[in-house]
Amino acid sequence: MSEILLKAATLAGGSVVDIRIVENLISEIGTDLYSTGDLIDCSALRALPGFVDLHTHLREPGKENTETVLTGSRAAVRGGYTAISAMANTNPVADSAGVVEQVWRLGKDAALCDVYPIGAVSEGLAGERLAEIGAMADSAARVRIFSDDGKCVSDPLLMRRALEYVKSFGGVIAQHAQEPRLTIGSQMNEGAVASELGLAGWPAVAEESIIMRDILLADMVKSRLHICHVSTKGSVEIIRWAKARGSLVTAEVTPHHLLLTEEMVRSYDPIFKVNPPLRGVKDVEALRAALADGTIDIVATDHAPHANEDKDCEWGSAAFGMVGLESALSVVVSTMISSGLMGWDRLAEVMSTAPARIGGYIEQGQAIAVGSSANIALVDGSAEKQIHRDELFSKSKNTPFHGMVLTGEVVHTIFRGRIVLRDKKLFEVHRG
């Protein structure tokens, strides 16, 4: 019987306790517990429920040169995640039971964290016909989140049908809100900086108009809508209004939209090219406030690995996207905790409890309490860490935070009672 004792860990609320883990459960919490097995000194570390990411691009199948389920799982564990959600825009697209089961099995084989596949809303992400949503929901992967992420479900009728259809099994549609006609050729946030740089603008209204439409649709059919990577102040205001009137809407913000602004684009370095684009200072401030006050429910990474050649080029030819699993905690601590906008309780909520609830991941996001599944991230909340792209576990190195000094670092990660990251080093026992 495997046993781990976490000695003198600080809980989100501030109390210092010893946590005993037997097999895959937390068996005892107290002070001065006696160790009969493995002991980890956790003094000065926060014990938080293992993080849950609802928005991860793992690139397998199709682009295994940039990331695989295994390498993405390693990156997840380095970032304190015990569950990630594989986006559907692979090749082939995850629009059938076969593909989602393949990804799900690869996650089981990697055995570093839970990998929950997200199913496509439309066949081939083409936005024309519904994908086999029911078959994916009934498959071994038991898919509950559906998204055409990378593309917007722009057809209002298809969106309505998708929202209705997933009600039969309590699913949710995660919308990538981007009106396609308003963003033809768009490169960066539309405004003063874009006008100077001569880069085609990406108006805030392209995001906000879709969010507004989808909230009205979700209200009408009484279904659950999740908004991916909210990036503008206007979107925040719409979601706040919707929640006040009782809409079943949840929303996520990415770490990079909490920290970076469009000013970074002045370098023309495509490491800052991302969809949705980096926005202005007022947007960043609104997103932080919204995450603190609950208007935005969760942090999701939109971890998007890309090959070096797709970033080491001119802006126009570069791919959209940034990796984020390994730096998410540090960015959230630096922007939200160090600034006093929120405390550790709220951090545990937005990075673990709430995403697990939205995704229906019942064994994830449980409180650090006796009987809970032992998924735990142990975090040094005051570490000052310089991000270095060469230190990433991810197969791709496209981090926009390279060289920045951020606060907070994940030290150990425990997944289902097993230490998968110890002293920032990986402990793998993957199968397959």
Partner: protein, 317 residues
């Protein structure tokens, strides 16, 4: 100065120094011998990812008149169309010994990227990057204006300049607004609302949707080329309506000041943004702009590639 990527790279003093060098080159090459030995042994590569015969020929003439070796690399029929990247192309040219790379590219920021990415060590000259900048065009326009209004002056104070047309997509407008403002001119932008960028307020220049109200105030009217595909993108209904509101026709031409000049970066759409009568009128300096373009580009190449010990001297010396 190692690169010329943006007019932001130039101080007022550096700008006038360049314009002075160009003026000096004009006198030196005015005679029968048009060629100077200044850049003998240096290699200039024209790296053109967009069709622009005029700009390429202008840079080619400039380099040749300074005795540099010139290699032209154009996208069509080259490895670019086979998917070779900008990085690989530039490094290949570097390996062949390019001292300067003149780049025209459809992506905004590509010249800056080439200069700052560490891919190559050659001097980079931006010959137009997407809808961002075209600094040598602004310099040749400044040279042309200066020559007309105050050939030895050190500022453009009191000059009233209108730039008319597709501001949104124009690299010529972006470079000219910044440079002419920096030199002291009063610049006004004129376009339909659809062809101004959102964020135009931050440019800190007056802008107007009305071409006619201040027509008699301008010393310089710079017309921008209208890309025909803009019509299909609903920026304006059709060419006829555009011409009526924003074209420089004879009626508008006749209302200009007696000594006002009409400029156009070329190639012109006669009958769209400019009538044939206006293009060929005495006020038009379009042809002069072309010859000044060679002089200004010679000055830029000289400043970037010529060391401090290098002297400008007459042909044959």
């Amino acid at each position: 100065m190692r690169h010329l990527l943006s007019v932001d790279d130039l101080s007022v003093d550096q700008t006038f120094e360049l314009l002075d060098v160009a003026a000096h080159l004009e006198t030196l090459t005015a005679g029968t011998v048009k060629k100077l030995p200044t850049l003998r042994g240096r290699t200039v590569v024209n790296l053109f990812f967009e069709d622009s015969t005029r700009t390429r020929l202008s840079f080619e003439a400039a380099a040749k008149r300074l005795s540099a070796d010139v290699t032209n690399f154009t996208a069509k029929g080259s490895s670019i169309s086979k998917g070779e990247s900008l990085k690989d192309t530039a490094q290949t040219l570097q390996a062949m010994g390019a001292d300067a790379i003149v780049i025209r590219h459809p992506a905004s920021g590509s010249a800056k990227r080439l200069a700052e990415s560490g891919w190559v060590s050659a001097s980079i000259i931006n010959a137009g990057d997407g809808t961002h900048e075209h600094p040598t065009q602004a310099l040749l326009d400044a040279f042309t204006i200066r020559k007309r209004f105050n050939p030895t002056g050190r500022d453009f104070n009191g000059l009233n300049i209108a730039i008319v047309g597709d501001i949104l997509h124009s690299r010529v407008a972006r470079s000219n607004v910044k440079l002419l403002k920096k030199l002291g001119a009063h610049v006004t932008l004129i376009a339909p609302p659809t062809l101004f960028p959102v964020g135009i307020d931050s440019w800190r220049v007056p802008f107007s949707y009305d071409f006619d109200s201040e027509l008699d105030q301008f010393d310089v009217v710079m017309m921008l080329r209208v890309q025909l595909e803009r019509m299909n993108e609903s920026f304006f209904p059709n060419g006829r309506e555009y011409s009526r509101s924003y074209g420089l026709d004879e009626a508008r031409l006749s209302r200009l000041k007696a000594d006002a000049i009409v400029m156009h970066p070329g190639p012109m759409n006669r009958g769209l943004e400019i009538s044939a009568g206006s293009a060929d009128s005495k006020k038009s300096v379009v042809i002069e702009q072309v010859s000044n373009g060679v002089l200004v580009r010679m000055a830029v190449l000289y400043q970037l590639l010529g060391g401090p010990d290098m002297q400008l001297s007459g042909g044959g010396s």
